[in-house]
């Protein structure tokens, strides 16, 4: 007899019952000396606490990256990472980039042509010529 795994009765779908944000961590890297970090440093001083408080499900770390451009890195549940260089951006633009990383799902960008994606089987089933009277020629 062949060993069989336990078959799953249902498939977990994020958002149908509970919702888990795909972004799990945001790393903010800054430089104290370089001018390209000016907006980033202003963001860290003024807006980061509010941003962090509004997004309690995201872990936020701040670390220096001396003599380099400022970077925001997002780590996602699927194991991928997205990094955005925020050199010479203003405080508001840095916030926009942070929100972009928070809203993203971590997947590589793909061109999607069909708007609806489904794993459910067809509700009305496949049409059969042998049922429901059929076609009289």
């Amino acid at each position: 007899m062949v060993v069989q795994g336990i078959r799953k009765a249902t498939v977990g779908q994020n958002g149908v019952g509970a919702f888990i944000l795909q972004c799990k961590r945001l790393d903010f890297h800054y430089c104290d000396w370089a001018g390209s970090s000016k907006g980033m440093n202003s963001f860290l001083r003024n807006s980061l606490t509010k941003f962090a408080a509004l997004n309690p499900q995201v872990e936020i770390t701040v670390s220096p990256r001396p003599r380099r451009h400022p970077v925001i890195k997002g780590t996602y549940i699927n194991g991928r990472e997205k990094a955005i260089c925020v050199r010479n951006l203003t405080k508001e633009q840095v916030l926009q980039k942070a929100e972009l990383l928070r809203d993203a799902n971590g997947e590589k960008l793909k061109k999607v042509t069909k708007p609806v994606k489904s794993i459910n089987e067809s509700v009305r089933g496949v049409w059969s010529p042998y049922h429901d009277g059929g076609i009289h020629v």
């Binding site: 919702f19 941003f51 609806v116």
Partner: protein, 223 residues
């Protein structure tokens, strides 16, 4: 008008608490640029109306008058139904049968575009919806058809929104790969490269529910 009705129906579960200050709204609180809102007090509950008037006076004190003209980010609750629903006899007969069947589909309209969905489907809207954050729940109240394996309720042109409840959760925002298009005119060396990258809101259909006949007919009379 349609977009307004959708925006109005955003997060109907949030409506009773919208009289409270924004700190009480976990989903709305994550919306970074949220301003203090003036929300009309619900008439029926005394405590809530007291809270709301307090909040509105605070809003008057703290928010500059210029900012009050900005469009509301938190939509108003939808207007209550004044007329009782007029259901056809055949609909009354068939709707319980439709509801009893195991799986349902709905052709929900967003900005006049139909999306044929079942519960659990992912919808990539062809636009970036403003004012929503991941985790928000939208109630889709416009549908042109609603059905199960053997029955379909077709709208003329739309199904009455009291018949069903369809909720979608905002999953996030996705972008497409950068598009480049080369613009070249004849007999000229110059090539202009146009770049574009659009953003799209992703929804997940969280719930499709068909209301029972008592609920449908009671909703018009009670209000």
């Amino acid at each position: 008008m349609l977009s307004r009705s959708i925006r109005r129906s955003i997060l109907d579960s949030r409506i009773p608490t919208s009289a409270l200050p924004p700190t009480f709204l976990p989903n709305r609180a994550r919306y970074f640029n949220s301003t203090v809102q003036h929300v009309d007090a619900p008439a029926e509950s005394l405590d809530a109306s007291l809270l709301a008037t307090n909040a509105s006076t605070e809003a008057l004190e703290t928010v500059a008058p210029v900012r009050r003209t900005i469009r509301q980010k938190v939509p108003l609750p939808p207007a209550p139904f004044t007329q009782p629903i007029a259901l056809d006899a055949s609909v009354k007969e068939m709707l319980p049968l439709l509801a009893a069947q195991p799986s349902h589909y709905i052709s929900a309209h967003i900005h006049a575009k139909p999306y044929l969905v079942t519960a659990g489907d992912t919808v990539r809207l062809p636009f970036h919806m403003p004012g929503v954050v991941p985790g928000d729940i939208l109630r889709l109240n416009r549908a042109s058809s609603l059905g199960s394996r053997d029955y379909t309720l077709k709208g003329t042109p739309y199904v009455d929104e009291r018949v069903f409840e369809c909720r979608a959760r905002v999953m996030g925002t996705e972008a497409e790969p950068m598009r480049t298009k080369e613009k070249k005119k004849r007999r000229n060396r110059r090539i202009n490269t146009v770049k574009s990258k659009h953003k799209f809101t992703i929804l997940k259909i969280a719930e499709i529910k068909i209301n029972s006949l008592e609920d449908i007919e009671g909703s018009g009379e009670s209000v």
